[in-house]
């Protein structure tokens, strides 16, 4: 699944570590989600969406 995490993070000038701390996950988790190696669960996807003030569909895109 593709996503816009990297762009959204860059817009806020956040590092992967910054985002990881805000989401209370490891930096490797953020990296794995951002690079499409790992698709987050629905609860984590909602947390990501809430953090950016967007809907899930605006962050995660169908292949």
């Amino acid at each position: 699944m593709r996503n816009r995490l990297k762009v959204l993070r860059a817009e806020r000038d956040w590092s992967q570590q910054d985002l990881a701390e805000r989401l209370e996950v490891s930096r490797q988790s953020v990296n794995a989600i951002e690079t499409g190696k790992y698709d987050p669960s629905l609860p984590l996807a909602f947390r990501i969406a809430d953090l950016f003030g967007l809907s899930i569909e605006e962050i995660f895109l169908r292949d």
Partner: protein, 197 residues
Amino acid sequence: MADPAIAAKRIAAFWGGAFMVGMFGTAWVLKSTGILAQPWGFAVMLLPMLLLIPMIRASEAMQRETGCASPAAQRYNRRMLVASFAYAAGLGGALLLFNGQTVAKPVAALLALLPTLPVLAMIWAMARYVIEETDEYLRARTVHAALVATGMLLAVATFWGFLTTFGVAPNVPMWAAVPVWCIGLGVGHLVGKVRGL
């Protein structure tokens, strides 16, 4: 300046290597000098086991530098460290009491429990890690590695069992299942890394 993550990986690899060399080297020296056959010989093996402490500290430093540290992983490391020392002490104690003596079967069964209980504690620590890990990606990575380890253990046990049936290979004690599974866990993490999980 060197990348701190690479430096931490090197230090962890160094202590991992030091632990392996320490354990196998000491066992080889003790065996070749006949000390291991002495009732107290096994106690000497506790000395190289002390290398587990810097090894785990270096491993935790590496986890922090590579961004995969978590409180659950730290608790797992501590629990495994305690269980490892308890295992060495339990095995040494059981061998010391059993060595060259004829003991009644119920007593022998109790002696067998001495090294078994710490291994049960290790299995409990692994289960607790999966339960306590709040980072779903790290948890998924460990579960994937555990599945690879379980598959590998079943495959090795089945093949070895038939090799034994047909007289090709000697019998192996059942306690070998745990070290084989742990090797499988390492292989599983490696497979996950190669496959990009």
